[in-house]
Protein backbone atom coordinates (compact mmCIF):
# COMPACT_ATOMS: atom_id res chain seq x y z
CA UNK A 1 0.00 0.00 0.00
CA UNK A 2 1.19 3.49 -0.82
CA UNK A 3 1.11 6.43 1.46
CA UNK A 4 -1.45 8.96 0.27
CA UNK A 5 -0.02 11.63 -1.97
CA UNK A 6 1.16 14.66 -0.12
CA UNK A 7 -0.69 17.64 -1.46
CA UNK A 8 1.53 20.44 -2.59
CA UNK A 9 0.07 22.98 -0.18
CA UNK A 10 -0.21 20.69 2.81
CA UNK A 11 2.86 19.50 4.69
CA UNK A 12 3.16 17.67 7.97
CA UNK A 13 1.82 19.73 10.86
CA UNK A 14 -0.39 21.90 8.65
CA UNK A 15 -4.08 21.92 9.27
CA UNK A 16 -5.71 19.16 7.23
CA UNK A 17 -9.23 19.67 8.44
CA UNK A 18 -10.74 22.55 10.33
CA UNK A 19 -14.22 22.69 11.77
CA UNK A 20 -15.37 26.20 12.57
CA UNK A 21 -18.40 27.17 14.66
CA UNK A 22 -20.33 24.09 13.61
CA UNK A 23 -23.84 23.72 15.01
CA UNK A 24 -26.12 20.80 14.30
CA UNK A 25 -29.73 20.55 15.39
CA UNK A 26 -32.32 17.86 14.94
CA UNK A 27 -35.53 19.78 15.39
CA UNK A 28 -35.26 21.12 18.91
CA UNK A 29 -32.41 18.84 19.92
CA UNK A 30 -29.05 20.51 19.78
CA UNK A 31 -26.52 17.80 18.95
CA UNK A 32 -23.57 20.11 18.40
CA UNK A 33 -23.33 23.76 19.41
CA UNK A 34 -20.72 26.10 18.02
CA UNK A 35 -17.80 23.67 18.01
CA UNK A 36 -14.47 24.57 16.43
CA UNK A 37 -11.30 22.50 16.28
CA UNK A 38 -8.76 21.41 13.76
CA UNK A 39 -6.94 18.26 12.80
CA UNK A 40 -3.34 18.60 11.69
CA UNK A 41 -1.72 16.54 9.01
CA UNK A 42 -0.19 13.35 10.34
CA UNK A 43 -1.50 13.52 13.88
CA UNK A 44 -3.75 11.23 15.88
CA UNK A 45 -6.56 13.38 17.17
CA UNK A 46 -8.91 11.98 19.77
CA UNK A 47 -12.47 13.16 20.30
CA UNK A 48 -13.75 12.20 23.74
CA UNK A 49 -16.67 13.01 25.91
CA UNK A 50 -19.44 11.38 27.92
CA UNK A 51 -22.27 9.52 26.18
CA UNK A 52 -24.43 11.76 24.02
CA UNK A 53 -21.81 14.49 23.83
CA UNK A 54 -22.06 14.68 20.04
CA UNK A 55 -18.88 12.84 19.10
CA UNK A 56 -20.39 10.55 16.49
CA UNK A 57 -22.49 13.43 15.17
CA UNK A 58 -19.25 15.34 14.72
CA UNK A 59 -17.77 12.54 12.62
CA UNK A 60 -21.00 12.39 10.62
CA UNK A 61 -20.68 16.11 9.94
CA UNK A 62 -17.07 15.70 8.85
CA UNK A 63 -17.83 13.02 6.31
CA UNK A 64 -21.01 14.60 5.11
CA UNK A 65 -23.66 12.30 6.46
CA UNK A 66 -25.15 15.11 8.53
CA UNK A 67 -25.37 18.65 7.25
CA UNK A 68 -24.83 21.26 9.98
CA UNK A 69 -27.10 24.30 10.13
CA UNK A 70 -24.22 26.64 10.88
CA UNK A 71 -20.47 26.66 10.52
CA UNK A 72 -17.81 25.80 8.03
CA UNK A 73 -15.66 22.76 7.32
CA UNK A 74 -12.30 23.28 5.68
CA UNK A 75 -10.65 20.19 4.26
CA UNK A 76 -7.36 20.39 2.35
CA UNK A 77 -7.70 24.14 2.05
CA UNK A 78 -11.21 24.13 0.61
CA UNK A 79 -13.94 25.62 2.79
CA UNK A 80 -17.48 24.30 2.61
CA UNK A 81 -20.63 24.92 4.61
CA UNK A 82 -21.28 21.20 4.53
CA UNK A 83 -19.65 18.04 3.22
CA UNK A 84 -21.33 15.54 0.96
CA UNK A 85 -20.58 11.83 1.45
CA UNK A 86 -19.33 11.36 -2.09
CA UNK A 87 -17.11 14.45 -1.94
CA UNK A 88 -15.72 13.42 1.43
CA UNK A 89 -14.98 9.90 0.21
CA UNK A 90 -13.37 10.98 -3.04
CA UNK A 91 -11.34 13.68 -1.27
CA UNK A 92 -9.87 11.07 1.05
CA UNK A 93 -11.96 10.80 4.20
CA UNK A 94 -12.63 7.22 5.28
CA UNK A 95 -14.60 6.02 8.23
CA UNK A 96 -15.29 3.08 10.50
CA UNK A 97 -18.43 2.79 12.60
CA UNK A 98 -19.26 2.35 16.24
CA UNK A 99 -21.51 -0.62 15.52
CA UNK A 100 -19.66 -2.54 12.86
CA UNK A 101 -21.14 -1.57 9.50
CA UNK A 102 -19.66 -4.24 7.28
CA UNK A 103 -21.36 -5.73 4.27
CA UNK A 104 -22.42 -8.90 6.06
CA UNK A 105 -23.25 -11.04 3.07
CA UNK A 106 -19.88 -10.47 1.41
CA UNK A 107 -16.52 -12.07 2.12
CA UNK A 108 -13.66 -10.26 3.82
CA UNK A 109 -12.00 -9.92 0.44
CA UNK A 110 -15.09 -8.44 -1.22
CA UNK A 111 -15.60 -6.04 1.67
CA UNK A 112 -12.11 -4.66 1.33
CA UNK A 113 -12.34 -4.71 -2.47
CA UNK A 114 -15.53 -2.64 -2.13
CA UNK A 115 -13.35 -0.02 -0.44
CA UNK A 116 -11.53 0.33 -3.76
CA UNK A 117 -14.73 1.12 -5.68
CA UNK A 118 -13.92 4.81 -6.09
CA UNK A 119 -10.50 3.99 -7.49
CA UNK A 120 -11.86 1.66 -10.16
CA UNK A 121 -12.45 3.27 -13.49
CA UNK A 122 -13.60 0.62 -15.96
CA UNK A 123 -17.15 1.22 -17.07
CA UNK A 124 -20.18 -0.94 -17.55
CA UNK A 125 -19.12 -2.43 -20.88
CA UNK A 126 -15.87 -3.88 -19.57
CA UNK A 127 -17.56 -4.95 -16.35
CA UNK A 128 -19.98 -7.02 -18.43
CA UNK A 129 -17.08 -8.86 -20.03
CA UNK A 130 -14.86 -9.13 -16.93
CA UNK A 131 -11.94 -9.77 -19.23
CA UNK A 132 -9.13 -7.63 -20.61
CA UNK A 133 -8.94 -4.19 -18.97
CA UNK A 134 -11.63 -4.93 -16.37
CA UNK A 135 -9.81 -8.04 -15.18
CA UNK A 136 -6.46 -6.26 -15.25
CA UNK A 137 -7.91 -3.52 -13.09
CA UNK A 138 -9.45 -6.06 -10.75
CA UNK A 139 -6.09 -7.81 -10.31
CA UNK A 140 -4.26 -4.54 -9.77
CA UNK A 141 -6.64 -3.64 -6.95
CA UNK A 142 -6.58 -7.17 -5.59
CA UNK A 143 -2.83 -6.73 -5.06
CA UNK A 144 -3.40 -3.61 -2.97
CA UNK A 145 -6.11 -5.39 -1.01
CA UNK A 146 -3.82 -8.35 -0.37
CA UNK A 147 -1.25 -5.96 1.09
CA UNK A 148 -3.87 -4.62 3.46
CA UNK A 149 -4.86 -8.18 4.37
CA UNK A 150 -1.22 -8.96 5.14
CA UNK A 151 -0.88 -5.77 7.15
CA UNK A 152 -3.91 -6.57 9.30
CA UNK A 153 -2.99 -10.25 9.59
CA UNK A 154 -6.35 -11.51 8.36
CA UNK A 155 -5.10 -13.84 5.61
CA UNK A 156 -6.95 -16.82 7.03
CA UNK A 157 -10.38 -15.23 6.80
CA UNK A 158 -10.07 -13.86 3.27
CA UNK A 159 -12.91 -15.90 1.83
CA UNK A 160 -15.14 -16.04 4.90
CA UNK A 161 -18.42 -14.08 4.79
CA UNK A 162 -17.90 -11.37 7.41
CA UNK A 163 -21.23 -12.07 9.09
CA UNK A 164 -19.70 -15.27 10.45
CA UNK A 165 -16.60 -13.61 11.94
CA UNK A 166 -16.18 -12.82 15.61
CA UNK A 167 -16.61 -9.20 16.62
CA UNK A 168 -12.94 -8.37 17.06
CA UNK A 169 -12.10 -9.58 13.57
CA UNK A 170 -15.05 -7.72 12.10
CA UNK A 171 -13.64 -4.51 13.55
CA UNK A 172 -10.32 -5.34 11.92
CA UNK A 173 -11.93 -6.02 8.54
CA UNK A 174 -13.75 -2.73 8.82
CA UNK A 175 -10.45 -0.97 9.40
CA UNK A 176 -9.13 -2.77 6.32
CA UNK A 177 -12.05 -1.60 4.25
CA UNK A 178 -11.40 2.00 5.30
CA UNK A 179 -7.67 1.62 4.57
CA UNK A 180 -8.49 0.33 1.08
CA UNK A 181 -9.71 3.82 0.27
CA UNK A 182 -6.15 5.07 0.89
CA UNK A 183 -7.56 7.87 3.01
CA UNK A 184 -5.75 11.00 4.08
CA UNK A 185 -8.04 11.34 7.04
CA UNK A 186 -9.28 8.24 8.79
CA UNK A 187 -12.21 8.60 11.17
CA UNK A 188 -12.45 5.79 13.72
CA UNK A 189 -15.61 5.64 15.76
CA UNK A 190 -14.82 3.63 18.91
CA UNK A 191 -12.45 1.18 17.22
CA UNK A 192 -11.92 -0.66 20.52
CA UNK A 193 -15.44 -0.81 21.89
CA UNK A 194 -16.30 -4.22 23.28
CA UNK A 195 -12.84 -5.71 22.81
CA UNK A 196 -10.76 -7.59 25.31
CA UNK A 197 -7.32 -6.36 26.33
CA UNK A 198 -5.45 -8.42 23.76
CA UNK A 199 -7.67 -7.26 20.90
CA UNK A 200 -7.33 -3.68 22.10
CA UNK A 201 -3.57 -3.95 22.05
CA UNK A 202 -3.67 -5.36 18.52
CA UNK A 203 -5.94 -2.56 17.38
CA UNK A 204 -3.71 0.09 18.99
CA UNK A 205 -0.74 -1.35 17.18
CA UNK A 206 -2.60 -1.22 13.85
CA UNK A 207 -3.69 2.36 14.43
CA UNK A 208 -0.15 3.45 15.29
CA UNK A 209 1.23 1.54 12.29
CA UNK A 210 -1.28 3.09 9.92
CA UNK A 211 -0.35 6.50 11.25
CA UNK A 212 3.39 6.02 11.01
CA UNK A 213 3.73 3.79 7.94
CA UNK A 214 1.19 5.41 5.66
CA UNK A 215 1.22 8.87 7.22
CA UNK A 216 -2.55 8.75 7.56
CA UNK A 217 -4.10 11.39 9.77
CA UNK A 218 -6.44 9.79 12.27
CA UNK A 219 -9.36 11.15 14.23
CA UNK A 220 -10.67 8.71 16.78
CA UNK A 221 -13.48 8.51 19.25
CA UNK A 222 -12.72 6.26 22.18
CA UNK A 223 -13.96 5.72 25.69
CA UNK A 224 -10.92 3.86 27.01
CA UNK A 225 -8.96 6.76 28.53
CA UNK A 226 -5.77 4.75 28.79
CA UNK A 227 -5.84 4.15 25.06
CA UNK A 228 -6.75 7.73 24.26
CA UNK A 229 -4.01 9.24 26.40
CA UNK A 230 -1.40 6.84 25.03
CA UNK A 231 -2.27 7.04 21.34
CA UNK A 232 -3.33 10.55 20.65
CA UNK A 233 -1.29 13.64 19.97
CA UNK A 234 -4.11 16.01 20.84
CA UNK A 235 -7.50 15.54 22.41
CA UNK A 236 -10.70 17.50 22.02
CA UNK A 237 -13.38 17.04 24.67
CA UNK A 238 -17.09 17.52 24.00
CA UNK A 239 -19.90 17.65 26.50
CA UNK A 240 -23.58 18.20 25.62
CA UNK A 241 -22.54 19.23 22.12
CA UNK A 242 -20.10 21.90 23.28
CA UNK A 243 -16.33 21.86 23.29
CA UNK A 244 -15.04 22.05 26.84
CA UNK A 245 -11.35 21.35 26.35
CA UNK A 246 -8.75 20.96 23.63
CA UNK A 247 -5.07 20.17 23.95
CA UNK A 248 -2.39 17.57 24.50
CA UNK A 249 -3.44 14.61 26.69
CA UNK A 250 -1.73 15.85 29.84
CA UNK A 251 -3.42 19.24 29.65
CA UNK A 252 -6.80 17.67 29.10
CA UNK A 253 -6.33 15.19 31.91
CA UNK A 254 -5.80 17.95 34.46
CA UNK A 255 -8.53 20.23 33.08
CA UNK A 256 -11.16 20.83 35.75
CA UNK A 257 -14.06 21.03 33.27
CA UNK A 258 -13.12 17.62 31.88
CA UNK A 259 -12.86 16.08 35.33
CA UNK A 260 -16.25 17.52 36.19
CA UNK A 261 -17.77 16.23 32.99
CA UNK A 262 -16.56 12.70 33.63
CA UNK A 263 -16.89 12.49 37.39
CA UNK A 264 -19.78 14.85 37.92
CA UNK A 265 -19.91 17.85 40.25
CA UNK A 266 -21.47 17.96 43.69
CA UNK A 267 -24.80 19.73 43.66
Amino acid sequence: MRAPDMDAGVTAGDVLLAVENVSLRFGGVKAITDVSFDIRKGEIRAIIGPNGAGKTSMLNVINGFYHPQDGRITFKGRTRSKMRPYVAASQGIARTFQNVALFKGMTTLDNIMAGRTLKMRRGFFWQMLRHGPAMAEEIEHRKVVEEIIDFLEIEAIRKVPVGRLPYGLQKRVELGRALAMEPELLLLDEPMAGMNLEEKEDMCRFILDVNSQFGTTIALIEHDMGVVMDLSDRVVVLEYGRKIADGVPDEVKSNQAVIDAYLGVPH
Binding site: F103, M113, T117, R130
Partner: protein, 358 residues
Amino acid sequence: MFYREAGQFKTNYAADMAVFPILQDKIGIALILTLALVVIPLAGNAFFLSVVMIPFLIFALASIGLNLLTGYTGLLSLGTAGFMGVGAFACYKLTTIFPGVNIIVWILTSGLFAAAVGVFFGLPSLRIKGFYLAVATLAAQFFLQWCFIRIPWLYNYNVSGAIEVPTRTLFGIAVTGPNASPEMRYYVVLGVVILLTWVASNLVHGRIGRSWMAVRDMDIAAELMGIKLLPTKLLAFAVSSFYCGVAGALMVFLWYGGAEPEVFSINQSFLILFMVIIGGLGSLTGSFFGAALIYILPIVLRGAPSLVGLDIGAATVEHLTFMIVGALIIFFLIVEPHGLARLWQTGKQKLRVWPFPY
Protein backbone atom coordinates in the same frame (compact mmCIF):
# COMPACT_ATOMS: atom_id res chain seq x y z
CA MET B 1 -14.02 -38.16 -2.36
CA PHE B 2 -14.24 -36.91 -5.92
CA TYR B 3 -14.91 -33.31 -4.94
CA ARG B 4 -11.51 -32.35 -3.57
CA GLU B 5 -9.59 -29.19 -4.19
CA ALA B 6 -6.46 -30.46 -2.51
CA GLY B 7 -3.46 -29.96 -4.76
CA GLN B 8 -5.17 -27.34 -6.89
CA PHE B 9 -2.88 -24.41 -6.23
CA LYS B 10 -3.52 -21.00 -7.69
CA THR B 11 -0.45 -19.09 -8.67
CA ASN B 12 -2.08 -15.87 -9.78
CA TYR B 13 -4.98 -13.67 -8.77
CA ALA B 14 -6.82 -14.23 -12.04
CA ALA B 15 -7.13 -17.95 -11.28
CA ASP B 16 -8.21 -17.20 -7.73
CA MET B 17 -10.87 -14.75 -8.88
CA ALA B 18 -12.33 -17.09 -11.51
CA VAL B 19 -16.04 -17.73 -11.19
CA PHE B 20 -15.38 -21.47 -11.00
CA PRO B 21 -12.00 -21.71 -9.31
CA ILE B 22 -12.18 -25.45 -8.64
CA LEU B 23 -11.46 -27.97 -11.38
CA GLN B 24 -14.46 -30.15 -10.52
CA ASP B 25 -16.76 -27.15 -10.87
CA LYS B 26 -15.30 -26.39 -14.29
CA ILE B 27 -15.95 -30.00 -15.35
CA GLY B 28 -19.44 -29.75 -13.91
CA ILE B 29 -20.37 -26.62 -15.80
CA ALA B 30 -18.91 -28.11 -19.00
CA LEU B 31 -21.08 -31.19 -18.52
CA ILE B 32 -24.18 -29.07 -17.95
CA LEU B 33 -23.46 -27.03 -21.08
CA THR B 34 -22.92 -30.20 -23.13
CA LEU B 35 -26.14 -31.60 -21.78
CA ALA B 36 -28.03 -28.42 -22.63
CA LEU B 37 -26.44 -27.84 -26.04
CA VAL B 38 -26.14 -31.40 -27.39
CA VAL B 39 -27.86 -34.11 -25.39
CA ILE B 40 -31.23 -32.44 -24.67
CA PRO B 41 -31.92 -31.33 -28.28
CA LEU B 42 -30.91 -34.77 -29.58
CA ALA B 43 -32.68 -36.87 -27.00
CA GLY B 44 -35.62 -34.66 -26.11
CA ASN B 45 -38.88 -34.76 -28.02
CA ALA B 46 -40.86 -31.72 -29.08
CA PHE B 47 -43.02 -31.84 -25.94
CA PHE B 48 -40.00 -31.88 -23.63
CA LEU B 49 -38.35 -28.99 -25.42
CA SER B 50 -41.33 -26.70 -25.80
CA VAL B 51 -43.20 -27.46 -22.59
CA VAL B 52 -40.36 -28.11 -20.17
CA MET B 53 -37.03 -26.69 -21.28
CA ILE B 54 -38.00 -23.47 -23.06
CA PRO B 55 -40.29 -22.18 -20.28
CA PHE B 56 -37.77 -23.28 -17.65
CA LEU B 57 -34.99 -21.28 -19.30
CA ILE B 58 -37.24 -18.24 -19.72
CA PHE B 59 -38.34 -18.36 -16.09
CA ALA B 60 -34.73 -18.79 -15.03
CA LEU B 61 -33.80 -15.67 -17.01
CA ALA B 62 -36.60 -13.64 -15.45
CA SER B 63 -35.53 -14.94 -12.03
CA ILE B 64 -31.96 -13.85 -12.67
CA GLY B 65 -33.33 -10.43 -13.57
CA LEU B 66 -35.31 -10.14 -10.37
CA ASN B 67 -32.48 -11.65 -8.36
CA LEU B 68 -30.10 -8.90 -9.52
CA LEU B 69 -32.54 -6.38 -8.09
CA THR B 70 -33.93 -8.13 -5.03
CA GLY B 71 -31.20 -10.60 -4.16
CA TYR B 72 -28.12 -8.57 -4.97
CA THR B 73 -29.26 -4.98 -4.43
CA GLY B 74 -31.89 -5.66 -1.79
CA LEU B 75 -34.71 -3.83 -3.57
CA LEU B 76 -37.95 -5.73 -3.37
CA SER B 77 -39.94 -5.53 -6.60
CA LEU B 78 -43.39 -6.76 -7.52
CA GLY B 79 -43.28 -5.25 -10.99
CA THR B 80 -41.46 -8.10 -12.69
CA ALA B 81 -44.35 -9.14 -14.93
CA GLY B 82 -44.94 -5.53 -15.90
CA PHE B 83 -41.33 -5.17 -17.03
CA MET B 84 -41.57 -8.50 -18.87
CA GLY B 85 -44.65 -7.16 -20.60
CA VAL B 86 -42.80 -4.02 -21.65
CA GLY B 87 -40.18 -6.26 -23.27
CA ALA B 88 -42.79 -8.35 -25.03
CA PHE B 89 -44.83 -5.44 -26.34
CA ALA B 90 -41.71 -3.49 -27.34
CA CYS B 91 -40.45 -6.50 -29.27
CA TYR B 92 -43.83 -6.90 -30.96
CA LYS B 93 -43.99 -3.24 -31.99
CA LEU B 94 -40.40 -3.23 -33.20
CA THR B 95 -40.71 -6.35 -35.29
CA THR B 96 -43.99 -5.26 -36.87
CA ILE B 97 -42.67 -1.77 -37.65
CA PHE B 98 -39.29 -3.02 -38.89
CA PRO B 99 -39.95 -6.59 -40.08
CA GLY B 100 -36.62 -6.77 -41.93
CA VAL B 101 -34.42 -6.63 -38.85
CA ASN B 102 -33.34 -9.89 -37.23
CA ILE B 103 -35.71 -10.91 -34.45
CA ILE B 104 -32.88 -11.64 -32.02
CA VAL B 105 -31.71 -8.06 -32.35
CA TRP B 106 -35.22 -6.90 -31.48
CA ILE B 107 -35.54 -9.30 -28.56
CA LEU B 108 -32.37 -7.88 -27.03
CA THR B 109 -33.34 -4.30 -27.93
CA SER B 110 -36.73 -4.69 -26.30
CA GLY B 111 -34.85 -5.29 -23.07
CA LEU B 112 -33.58 -1.71 -23.34
CA PHE B 113 -37.15 -0.40 -23.39
CA ALA B 114 -37.92 -2.42 -20.29
CA ALA B 115 -34.73 -1.04 -18.71
CA ALA B 116 -35.85 2.54 -19.37
CA VAL B 117 -39.27 1.87 -17.84
CA GLY B 118 -37.58 0.09 -14.92
CA VAL B 119 -35.33 3.07 -14.23
CA PHE B 120 -38.35 5.36 -14.18
CA PHE B 121 -40.19 3.22 -11.67
CA GLY B 122 -36.97 2.72 -9.72
CA LEU B 123 -36.68 6.43 -8.93
CA PRO B 124 -38.62 6.16 -5.64
CA SER B 125 -36.10 3.57 -4.43
CA LEU B 126 -33.78 6.28 -3.14
CA ARG B 127 -36.27 7.27 -0.47
CA ILE B 128 -38.21 4.10 0.23
CA LYS B 129 -37.09 0.58 1.01
CA GLY B 130 -38.43 -2.87 1.75
CA PHE B 131 -42.18 -3.40 1.74
CA TYR B 132 -42.85 0.21 0.86
CA LEU B 133 -40.76 -0.07 -2.28
CA ALA B 134 -42.63 -3.27 -3.09
CA VAL B 135 -45.85 -1.27 -2.99
CA ALA B 136 -44.34 1.37 -5.28
CA THR B 137 -43.34 -1.29 -7.79
CA LEU B 138 -46.80 -2.80 -7.42
CA ALA B 139 -48.06 0.50 -8.81
CA ALA B 140 -45.77 -0.04 -11.79
CA GLN B 141 -47.21 -3.51 -12.25
CA PHE B 142 -50.80 -2.31 -12.31
CA PHE B 143 -50.07 0.76 -14.40
CA LEU B 144 -48.16 -1.20 -17.02
CA GLN B 145 -50.79 -3.91 -17.21
CA TRP B 146 -53.42 -1.20 -17.64
CA CYS B 147 -51.37 0.19 -20.54
CA PHE B 148 -51.19 -3.23 -22.19
CA ILE B 149 -54.98 -3.50 -22.11
CA ARG B 150 -56.01 0.11 -22.76
CA ILE B 151 -53.54 1.26 -25.40
CA PRO B 152 -54.56 -0.55 -28.60
CA TRP B 153 -51.55 0.87 -30.45
CA LEU B 154 -49.37 -1.52 -28.42
CA TYR B 155 -51.05 -4.59 -29.91
CA ASN B 156 -51.52 -3.02 -33.35
CA TYR B 157 -55.30 -2.65 -32.89
CA ASN B 158 -55.83 -6.42 -33.12
CA VAL B 159 -59.47 -7.23 -32.48
CA SER B 160 -58.41 -9.97 -30.07
CA GLY B 161 -56.53 -7.43 -27.98
CA ALA B 162 -53.55 -9.76 -27.93
CA ILE B 163 -50.13 -10.09 -29.49
CA GLU B 164 -50.04 -12.39 -32.48
CA VAL B 165 -46.46 -13.39 -33.10
CA PRO B 166 -45.50 -13.23 -36.77
CA THR B 167 -43.08 -15.65 -38.37
CA ARG B 168 -39.49 -14.44 -38.30
CA THR B 169 -36.48 -16.31 -39.54
CA LEU B 170 -32.83 -16.70 -38.66
CA PHE B 171 -30.56 -17.89 -41.49
CA GLY B 172 -33.72 -18.83 -43.40
CA ILE B 173 -35.10 -21.02 -40.60
CA ALA B 174 -38.22 -19.93 -38.75
CA VAL B 175 -37.57 -19.12 -35.09
CA THR B 176 -40.90 -17.52 -34.21
CA GLY B 177 -44.46 -18.02 -35.33
CA PRO B 178 -46.42 -21.25 -35.84
CA ASN B 179 -43.85 -22.87 -38.13
CA ALA B 180 -40.84 -22.60 -35.85
CA SER B 181 -39.49 -25.97 -34.75
CA PRO B 182 -39.03 -26.59 -31.02
CA GLU B 183 -35.33 -27.31 -31.57
CA MET B 184 -34.74 -23.96 -33.24
CA ARG B 185 -36.67 -22.08 -30.56
CA TYR B 186 -34.84 -23.98 -27.85
CA TYR B 187 -31.45 -23.07 -29.29
CA VAL B 188 -32.33 -19.39 -29.55
CA VAL B 189 -33.64 -19.29 -25.97
CA LEU B 190 -30.67 -21.27 -24.70
CA GLY B 191 -28.22 -18.99 -26.51
CA VAL B 192 -29.76 -15.86 -25.05
CA VAL B 193 -29.94 -17.37 -21.56
CA ILE B 194 -26.32 -18.57 -21.62
CA LEU B 195 -25.10 -15.19 -22.88
CA LEU B 196 -27.07 -13.17 -20.33
CA THR B 197 -26.22 -15.51 -17.45
CA TRP B 198 -22.55 -15.10 -18.31
CA VAL B 199 -22.91 -11.32 -18.38
CA ALA B 200 -24.81 -11.35 -15.06
CA SER B 201 -22.11 -13.48 -13.50
CA ASN B 202 -19.44 -11.04 -14.71
CA LEU B 203 -21.34 -8.08 -13.36
CA VAL B 204 -21.94 -9.51 -9.91
CA HIS B 205 -18.34 -10.65 -9.51
CA GLY B 206 -16.91 -7.24 -10.30
CA ARG B 207 -17.06 -3.68 -9.09
CA ILE B 208 -20.72 -3.22 -9.97
CA GLY B 209 -21.86 -6.36 -8.16
CA ARG B 210 -19.89 -5.35 -5.07
CA SER B 211 -21.52 -1.92 -5.12
CA TRP B 212 -24.95 -3.53 -5.38
CA MET B 213 -24.29 -5.88 -2.48
CA ALA B 214 -22.77 -3.02 -0.46
CA VAL B 215 -25.97 -1.02 -0.92
CA ARG B 216 -27.98 -4.09 0.07
CA ASP B 217 -26.01 -4.92 3.20
CA MET B 218 -25.30 -1.47 4.65
CA ASP B 219 -26.31 1.48 2.56
CA ILE B 220 -24.91 4.07 4.99
CA ALA B 221 -21.43 2.58 4.89
CA ALA B 222 -21.65 2.26 1.12
CA GLU B 223 -22.59 5.90 0.77
CA LEU B 224 -19.76 7.04 3.02
CA MET B 225 -17.36 4.99 0.91
CA GLY B 226 -18.34 7.03 -2.12
CA ILE B 227 -20.83 4.65 -3.69
CA LYS B 228 -23.59 6.92 -4.92
CA LEU B 229 -26.85 5.30 -3.89
CA LEU B 230 -29.23 6.54 -6.57
CA PRO B 231 -27.10 5.66 -9.63
CA THR B 232 -26.27 2.28 -8.12
CA LYS B 233 -29.90 1.46 -7.41
CA LEU B 234 -31.06 2.74 -10.78
CA LEU B 235 -28.41 0.67 -12.52
CA ALA B 236 -29.74 -2.36 -10.68
CA PHE B 237 -33.26 -1.48 -11.81
CA ALA B 238 -32.06 -0.98 -15.38
CA VAL B 239 -30.13 -4.26 -15.62
CA SER B 240 -32.84 -6.18 -13.80
CA SER B 241 -35.59 -4.81 -16.02
CA PHE B 242 -33.47 -5.50 -19.08
CA TYR B 243 -33.31 -9.15 -18.11
CA CYS B 244 -37.02 -9.26 -17.35
CA GLY B 245 -37.82 -7.51 -20.62
CA VAL B 246 -35.79 -9.98 -22.64
CA ALA B 247 -37.41 -12.83 -20.74
CA GLY B 248 -40.84 -11.37 -21.51
CA ALA B 249 -40.04 -11.04 -25.21
CA LEU B 250 -38.72 -14.61 -25.30
CA MET B 251 -41.80 -15.81 -23.44
CA VAL B 252 -44.22 -14.39 -25.97
CA PHE B 253 -42.20 -14.93 -29.12
CA LEU B 254 -40.56 -18.29 -28.50
CA TRP B 255 -42.84 -19.97 -26.01
CA TYR B 256 -46.49 -18.81 -26.17
CA GLY B 257 -46.43 -17.60 -29.76
CA GLY B 258 -49.00 -15.01 -28.79
CA ALA B 259 -50.11 -13.40 -25.59
CA GLU B 260 -52.87 -11.48 -23.92
CA PRO B 261 -52.08 -8.78 -21.35
CA GLU B 262 -53.33 -11.20 -18.70
CA VAL B 263 -50.04 -13.12 -19.05
CA PHE B 264 -48.25 -10.20 -17.42
CA SER B 265 -50.46 -10.03 -14.37
CA ILE B 266 -49.41 -9.75 -10.76
CA ASN B 267 -49.53 -13.54 -10.45
CA GLN B 268 -46.59 -13.83 -12.81
CA SER B 269 -44.66 -11.30 -10.68
CA PHE B 270 -45.32 -13.34 -7.55
CA LEU B 271 -44.38 -16.59 -9.32
CA ILE B 272 -40.98 -15.18 -10.23
CA LEU B 273 -40.48 -13.65 -6.81
CA PHE B 274 -41.11 -17.08 -5.28
CA MET B 275 -38.63 -18.66 -7.67
CA VAL B 276 -36.03 -16.14 -6.52
CA ILE B 277 -36.77 -16.63 -2.82
CA ILE B 278 -36.84 -20.42 -2.95
CA GLY B 279 -33.87 -20.61 -5.28
CA GLY B 280 -31.82 -18.30 -3.13
CA LEU B 281 -31.59 -14.53 -2.93
CA GLY B 282 -28.29 -13.33 -4.28
CA SER B 283 -27.42 -16.43 -6.26
CA LEU B 284 -27.49 -16.93 -10.01
CA THR B 285 -27.42 -20.71 -9.64
CA GLY B 286 -30.33 -20.36 -7.26
CA SER B 287 -32.39 -18.67 -9.97
CA PHE B 288 -32.14 -21.85 -12.03
CA PHE B 289 -32.94 -24.03 -9.02
CA GLY B 290 -35.96 -21.89 -8.15
CA ALA B 291 -37.30 -21.94 -11.71
CA ALA B 292 -36.83 -25.71 -11.82
CA LEU B 293 -38.58 -26.34 -8.52
CA ILE B 294 -41.56 -24.13 -9.20
CA TYR B 295 -42.00 -24.77 -12.91
CA ILE B 296 -40.66 -28.25 -13.71
CA LEU B 297 -41.61 -30.08 -10.52
CA PRO B 298 -45.38 -29.71 -11.02
CA ILE B 299 -45.02 -31.01 -14.59
CA VAL B 300 -43.12 -34.03 -13.33
CA LEU B 301 -45.69 -34.62 -10.60
CA ARG B 302 -48.57 -34.39 -13.06
CA GLY B 303 -46.92 -36.93 -15.33
CA ALA B 304 -45.78 -39.25 -12.56
CA PRO B 305 -49.02 -41.20 -11.83
CA SER B 306 -49.50 -42.25 -15.44
CA LEU B 307 -45.83 -43.18 -15.75
CA VAL B 308 -45.96 -45.60 -12.83
CA GLY B 309 -49.32 -46.94 -14.01
CA LEU B 310 -51.57 -45.39 -11.39
CA ASP B 311 -55.01 -44.46 -12.55
CA ILE B 312 -55.88 -41.22 -10.83
CA GLY B 313 -58.28 -38.63 -12.17
CA ALA B 314 -56.79 -35.50 -13.73
CA ALA B 315 -58.43 -33.23 -11.18
CA THR B 316 -57.07 -35.27 -8.28
CA VAL B 317 -53.58 -35.18 -9.79
CA GLU B 318 -53.85 -31.43 -10.09
CA HIS B 319 -54.88 -31.08 -6.44
CA LEU B 320 -52.14 -33.42 -5.31
CA THR B 321 -49.59 -31.49 -7.33
CA PHE B 322 -50.51 -28.25 -5.62
CA MET B 323 -50.31 -29.89 -2.21
CA ILE B 324 -46.99 -31.60 -2.83
CA VAL B 325 -45.34 -28.54 -4.35
CA GLY B 326 -46.64 -26.39 -1.52
CA ALA B 327 -45.40 -28.83 1.09
CA LEU B 328 -41.99 -29.06 -0.61
CA ILE B 329 -41.63 -25.30 -0.69
CA ILE B 330 -42.31 -25.14 3.04
CA PHE B 331 -39.98 -28.07 3.64
CA PHE B 332 -37.10 -26.49 1.75
CA LEU B 333 -37.58 -23.15 3.41
CA ILE B 334 -37.54 -24.78 6.84
CA VAL B 335 -34.43 -26.80 6.03
CA GLU B 336 -32.66 -23.79 4.57
CA PRO B 337 -34.31 -20.36 4.70
CA HIS B 338 -31.65 -19.00 2.38
CA GLY B 339 -32.89 -21.12 -0.48
CA LEU B 340 -31.81 -24.01 -2.58
CA ALA B 341 -28.59 -22.32 -3.61
CA ARG B 342 -27.42 -22.27 0.01
CA LEU B 343 -28.44 -25.93 0.35
CA TRP B 344 -26.32 -26.66 -2.70
CA GLN B 345 -23.36 -24.75 -1.21
CA THR B 346 -23.70 -26.60 2.08
CA GLY B 347 -23.84 -29.88 0.20
CA LYS B 348 -20.70 -29.05 -1.73
CA GLN B 349 -18.94 -28.04 1.48
CA LYS B 350 -19.90 -31.36 3.07
CA LEU B 351 -18.67 -33.21 0.00
CA ARG B 352 -15.32 -31.42 0.17
CA VAL B 353 -14.50 -32.81 3.60
CA TRP B 354 -16.37 -36.11 3.33
CA PRO B 355 -16.12 -38.52 5.15
CA PHE B 356 -15.07 -36.18 7.95
CA PRO B 357 -17.58 -33.77 9.50
CA TYR B 358 -15.27 -30.75 9.09
